[in-house]
């Protein structure tokens, strides 16, 4: 199974601060996704990113969020000014149809705690 690593595993921040969550694929992929799961709720789609561009984003993914692939390997999710309700597990995933499979493989997640 293709692997994705995420750092940090846990991030604690103060409300209003910026956070950057990182995703590192083991091999070279073009298609990535970010999802989040608020405690006790379902996993929700945030954004899909293909060939260095956003291809789709959800209503959750507002102006406070951004994604980029700064160095061709790491894939980052930035939250500019965190809110209490941003506390959640954030998952990076890769795969999907343009990669030749409909299956997406998820990283272990970053737990974000906003105080």
């Amino acid at each position: 199974e293709p692997e994705v690593t995420q750092t940090p595993s846990h991030q604690v921040t103060q409300m209003g601060q910026e956070v950057i969550l990182r995703c590192v694929p083991i091999s070279n992929h073009l298609y990535f996704y970010w999802y989040r799961q608020i405690l006790g709720q379902k996993v929700e789609f945030l954004v899909s990113f293909y060939n260095n561009e956003i291809s789709e984003k959800s209503e959750i993914f507002d102006d406070q969020f951004s994604v980029e692939r700064p160095d061709g390997s790491n894939f980052t999710l930035k939250i500019r000014s965190t809110k209490l309700e941003d506390s959640a597990m954030y998952f990076c995933a890769h795969g999907g149809r343009l990669w030749g499979t409909d299956t997406q493989y998820f990283g272990p997640g970053t737990r974000l705690t906003v105080l």
């Binding site: 199974e1 995420q6 298609y31 996704y33 999802y35 709720q41 379902k42 996993v43 929700e44 789609f45 899909s48 293909y50 291809s55 789709e56 959800s58 597990m89 998952f91 995933a93 999907g96 149809r97 343009l98 409909d102 299956t103 997406q104 493989y105 998820f106 990283g107 272990p108 997640g109 737990r111």
Partner: protein, 113 residues
Amino acid sequence: DQQVKQNSPSLSVQEGRISILNCDYTNSMFDYFLWYKKYPAEGPTFLISISSIKDKNEDGRFTVFLNKSAKHLSLHIVPSQPGDSAVYFCAASTASNTGKLIFGQGTTLQVKP
């Protein structure tokens, strides 16, 4: 708008018996369905999937059944093992979008020794 629903929040079965997890969907455009297993503080782990052109897919102890007319799918685990205890999510995607997955709320399976 809950396009994918798992109406049973929890299920408890005895080791060795069959576990049946159910999932309903409303969007007729969904053409690919997946089941993921998730432990606390970990990412979802892919289990098994099925394309809408099939009605059954089997992989070892896991079988997924798809009933398109009822917009219903189910995951069967036979025989159930204590290590199967986890939260199970069904997810769906369509060819018309970027392949984003729409998840159900999850069902917590407990397999008792």
